[in-house]
Symmetry: C2
Subunit: 750 residues, 2 copies
């Protein structure tokens, strides 16, 4: 750049400082930060501790990057590799530098963004598609268009922040050579990526829309909102993951993406891990629209679903704030992630200022450098914070909320949390796990959902991408705590079939604090067989801690082999049955996930009540299950046919019932006692249950009796048909007549 241009820039900057542009809609910044917002922020600088600390932290990071110099290497690597990580850091730093420029009005940040943008401008014109060939939609800076879209979502914000500061000529140059071609590449030239209902497309739509808003490019804005009218794609086309790219009659664009994957309750059909990822472009583009096109009322779209989605997402976490790994989800991801800082701050500021959100912002310990972040930080400063109390929730799935759902039963201060999934397929990241569940004790997994088989961004593990075991193991039914028939996955593991169906809620009742029940049915996973699972979280006065009752009722016209696994976490303490370990370990089967499980031991029930106790994280747990003496009890260990050590060596107990038609699997999972390796004190290490049996089972009712060590009998009866709250029921079992109102009965016998 010549000295003359530099001087012109200096002059323009000076003019900007002397004659601030105030208050008309065509001003910049206009996306996330606004002119008014910046004024308010600047007035409050130094007076809002959390905001000031967030500015300071970002400033430190950006200053360090500025000191390091700008590098825009020729793209070469998968995620985890240098060029990938460098470009990723570039766009994040540029976005932050833009915000700092607005907030601190220090031109070094504007210069940094400008210089970086021009390096990209110089490079982009002649840049071929990325050399790595794995993606169905290769990007240019990155191996997939998805990451290119990430880049544009962030860079649009950086650009917006320095837009006014740049010369008209510079803007034209960037628009013409970098941003417009970039937007066209990820959309027009990649319709498979851009024009579908999928979290990838949301990023694409937001990226195109945001740069469109900065450039005032109505064509791009329309393309972002409504997609590409004629994309030339054939219906039925699938992506690398087996997900549908084109479904007949389906709309595309940002609004369609907002419409389709979110249920009215704000549950995102791919699950919380991808919801967390998708929330960022949804929310950031929504704010941009809110600021630049308020007449579109994006936040009010679909009855305010975007802000409900934040609430749903926060409720799909364990006590440590980690998301339940439903469908493809990497464990450990939590509401401490940056995208949740965005979500919480936005939900607070643009929503109804729920003071409970402030406690999450407080633990996040950082806020956005914008009006929303400022508001959160000010209200925390002003003592408005209230604890975030997670309740039992039942979230519907499907655009209209009619495609099943996900429920979470909680007791106490998340002392016990049961996650029960009876949802739709969940698009391409869905697992074949109808009526599956997982169980948490505070932040510890007691009965785990495996999650995904991927090491996100760790290049050594398959470039940081999905590993083949994600399909051969993690998605399969046997990898989940639900019923597998005849060693085949639900829908035979066929994505197209699975995508046509969903489970059905039978009822959800959390009206009592001591008994909470969720009951759902699945009739399509195995044609001709109905699975009906009722799960109750019960805090009985006869038990030390709350326990879970699990009733899986199966009605089938054929005789089947049933496998019901329990992925317990921890060390086996005791069983009430004998088992034998084979001299060699062999896989349990050769397909549908069974090829990854070793049979470690095999036994048979010693009585009609089978028990397994284990110890995990200093607490004891016992499974008590009603079994027949012809059942097989299989101890399985994950890790077979795992040539690259991609799988964890986790354990399961599988209850196998052969050659059976109708049946009921009834079990209790009971936390009890504690052990400390410091005090070496073992407290209440034995189960309180002496007997658990199915007392009655027919098309109207299923009844389970639990006898405790003191011979007290508790009876739980679920109504299999009419579950209205006002319905009166009676059932005679033996000499005893039970009468109750509503969908279930639970009582301790006199």
């Amino acid at each position: 750049m010549t000295m003359i241009v530099n001087n012109v820039i200096r002059l323009l900057t000076l003019m900007t400082l002397i004659f601030p542009l105030i208050g008309h809609a065509s001003e910049h910044p206009r996306l996330i930060l606004t002119k008014d917002g910046v004024d308010t922020i600047r007035k409050n600088l130094g007076q809002v501790p959390l905001f000031d600390a967030s500015v300071e932290r970002v400033k430190e990071a950006v200053d360090a990057e500025i000191a390091l110099g700008i590098d825009t290497p020729i793209p070469r690597d998968y995620s985890g590799g240098y060029t990938h990580e460098r470009h990723k850091r570039n766009f994040r730093t540029a976005q932050q530098a833009g915000a700092l420029f607005q907030i601190l009005q220090d031109e070094k940040y504007a210069r940094y963004v400008r210089d970086m943008l021009f390096q990209y401008e110089a490079m982009y014109k002649d840049l071929p598609v990325h050399p790595k060939e794995r993606s169905y939609a290769r990007g240019k800076l990155f191996w997939q268009c998805l990451n290119d879209s990430n880049w544009l979502v962030f860079m649009a914000q950086a650009y917006d922040a320095i837009y006014t500061w740049l010369s008209e000529r510079e803007r034209q140059q960037l628009n013409r050579n970098l941003f417009r071609p970039f937007a066209d590449f990820i959309s027009l030239q990649n319709p498979k990526f851009y024009n579908r209902v999928h979290n990838h497309s949301t990023w694409g739509n937001a990226a195109v829309g945001m740069i469109g808003l900065v450039m005032n490019d109505e064509e791009l804005i329309a393309r972002a909102l409504y997609g590409i009218a004629d994309d030339g794609l054939e219906a039925g086309l699938k992506d690398d993951d087996g997900g549908f790219i084109k479904v007949e009659g389906q709309k595309a664009g940002f609004l369609a993406n907002l419409e389709e994957p979110f249920s009215p309750d704000g549950y995102y059909t791919e699950g919380p891990y991808y919801q967390r990822y998708a929330m960022y472009p949804f929310l950031i583009f929504a704010i941009a629209m809110h600021n630049a096109r308020p007449e579109m009322k994006v936040f009010e779209h679909k009855d305010g679903v975007l802000l409900k989605a934040v609430d749903a997402l926060l409720n799909l976490t364990d006590a440590d704030g980690e998301f339940f790994p439903l469908n493809d989800g990497q464990k450990g991801m939590s509401y401490h992630s940056g995208s949740l800082v965005t979500a919480v701050d936005i939900a607070y500021h643009y929503g109804n200022r729920n003071p409970q959100l402030l406690s999450i912002a407080h633990t996040q310990n950082q806020v956005l450098l914008d009006q929303a972040g400022l508001q959160v930080a000010m209200d925390i400063r002003d003592g408005k914070t209230q604890p975030f109390l997670k309740q039992s929730v039942n979230l519907t799935d499907g655009p209209d909320g009619t495609q099943g759902g996900v429920g979470v039963l909680r007791y106490g201060d998340e002392d016990l949390s049961l996650v029960f999934k009876y949802a739709a397929q969940g698009l391409s990241h869905g697992h074949y796990d109808k009526l599956s569940y997982s169980l948490y004790d505070k932040g510890d997994e007691v009965i785990q959902d495996y999650g995904l088989t991927r090491f996100v961004n760790i290049e050594q593990k398959g470039g940081g991408n999905y590993l083949k075991e994600n399909k051969t193991w993690a998605k399969q039914t046997i990898a989940h705590n639900t019923l597998t028939l005849n060693q085949a996955s639900h829908f035979n593991g066929d994505y197209a079939t699975g995508s046509q169906h969903h489970s059905e809620l039978h009822f959800f009742d959390a009206s009592r604090s001591d008994v909470q029940v969720l009951s759902a049915r699945e009739t399509n996973a195995y044609p001709g067989t109905e699975m009906h699972r009722t799960m109750a979280m019960i805090k009985s006065p006869t038990f030390e801690k709350p326990f879970v009752l699990d009733i899986m009722k199966v009605v089938s016209g054929t005789r089947n082999e049933y496998d019901l696994p329990l992925y317990f976490m921890g060390q086996v303490m005791k069983t009430n049955f004998a088992y034998q370990s084979p001299p060699s370990l062999n896989p349990l089967g050769n397909k549908n996930g069974y090829q990854h499980l070793y049979l470690e031991a095999k036994g048979y029930p010693a009585s009609e009540t089978t028990q397994l106790s284990w110890l995990n994280q200093g607490k004891f747990y016992t499974l008590t299950s009603s079994t027949s003496t012809t059942d097989e009890l299989l101890f399985a260990r994950l890790g077979a046919n795992d040539p690259d050590f991609n799988l964890r060596r986790d354990a399961a107990l599988i209850i196998r019932r052969r050659d059976t038609g109708n049946t009921v699997f009834a079990s209790a999972i009971e936390p009890h006692g504690s052990y400390s390796p410091v005090s070496e004190l073992s407290v209440n290490s034995s189960s309180n249950i002496s007997n658990l049996k199915v007392m009655a089972d027919n098309s109207d009712y299923t009844a389970v009796a639990i006898e405790d060590r003191k011979k007290q009998l508790s009876v739980f009866i679920v109504a299999n048909k009419d579950v209205s709250a006002s319905k009166r029921h009676k059932l005679k079992i033996g000499q005893q007549l039970y009468r109750w109102k509503g969908p279930y009965h639970f009582a301790i016998e006199e």
Copy 2:
């Protein structure tokens, strides 16, 4: 008890309050609390926050027990069972109630102790030995004399606290029917238990001595200090664990136990887990002697070894305060345990008031209810606390400090801690693990020592006792990070042979902060073969983090099969060699621990430098090892022949070198980078080492070269003979002449 007696007691109590007995040696309390001590404590009540809080916490616990009522059930159970845990809680509560009586002068505590003692008195007279038959020395209240001794050590304190408050008649009754028979039973009637050098005996000696001091029974005091003169035991007798009960010419009693197992540095030959356990009776009886028989100068015995031992013990912990599980040691035990509260408070008060100890007391968040605890709490209140800084230490083993030792090399604030064991056998809790090591990153294990195979006090797991896999697995050489020859354990796993030998220090040099070296030799584990291991912790400017260099030099007159395992913790990320997984998993061998390892995969080095990278707790690590292409690389998984699920499913990489005589195994273990599942950012996930090779090896010198990714060469040379600090060495390798002074050379080549 009659009303008259009660009234007499009340009268006596009143007299005690009116005419306090001051200052003559025959007063009570006299063991731990003293009359003067109680006065000082009472004067300071309400003014010392940590002490007051400790009183309050103990008071709450004791009040709850008092409300529950006293139960002294007929003994029946192993540890973990009700009667065991009840009697254990009784003696702890009684000891606390006694202290509360002295401190708060509330008679309800005295009554509680008295009533409990009389319940025991009524029961003890006719009590047979405990019905459980597993122990070599069965107790009466507990299944082993050891626990009976625990009872007496605590009850002696409780008794001492209310001694003056009791009537003479009550005292006589207790002495005659309970305490003297109890003391005689655990000593005279159980010489195998009482009259040896072992932590069990220490408890027995302390128990007899403490009750002797309370009762002023000189015979018991002498028996405690010097043992039983004629025990009638034959030399060579062994206990259940294979430990020697009687060694020809060995003394017995408390002083012998103080003499034998502690080295002059305060290292306890059984290892830190048992040291922690043994410290309590050592220290508590030492204070009792200090208070009641000051002329014996127990604290000054063996150059103040008891207080040095506390320091040694605190240094044998990781960054979380957990003890390194050398020999038999249950993981998770830490300086937060009650016996370490005792140790730290006593070491502070009776030692040189090291202000660093206060920071440990602070994290323990409780103090003893005696003079020592008060002093600690007052000094914390007065701001005297300093951080406890753990240094690299080399602790000798053996009564004279001539039987090898244990070294800990540390870098930074425990960023990396290497534990290198070259000690004696360690009595019956010793493992066959000469020259073994483990590695910690802060509080996380990177390369683990397996520890023991036992679930202490968990009744479901073998009564809470040692499991058979402790012998078949945990003690065996292959279970450790050291060299196994020809699939046989050191000393062929023979305890008698192992007990005759120890490794020898070659040198320890932690004089530089950037290079610390420990080198030791073992010549007896495999007759005819010398193993010489040199381990260095190096912080080189060319590496992000400190790394460990491990040189195992073997000189052997025969050709052997060498197995060098690496028990890495975490998930395999990458190897630079190919490997094949077998279709079925089979044990690696049929004895000496090999029967418990499955072969999960097998490969061969692809080059002369073999690498394995793994991820653990968000950090990457890489092993880089110089290998020959005829070496075998075995991935092993623990868990074979484990019919009761007693073993963890941990992983190892074993480098197997067949048919070899002299050889060198040279490896680097290199921590690098990080990964966060929240940011999903993978930083520096690849090793910085491109090549590692043995440049020279002869009887004088062994040299290893490390080439990093930037082609910089670092050379480490160890002198195998003269290691004096002043000795000048030179060595020519190829064209390069190396000159240095002292036992090793380390430099980055120009």
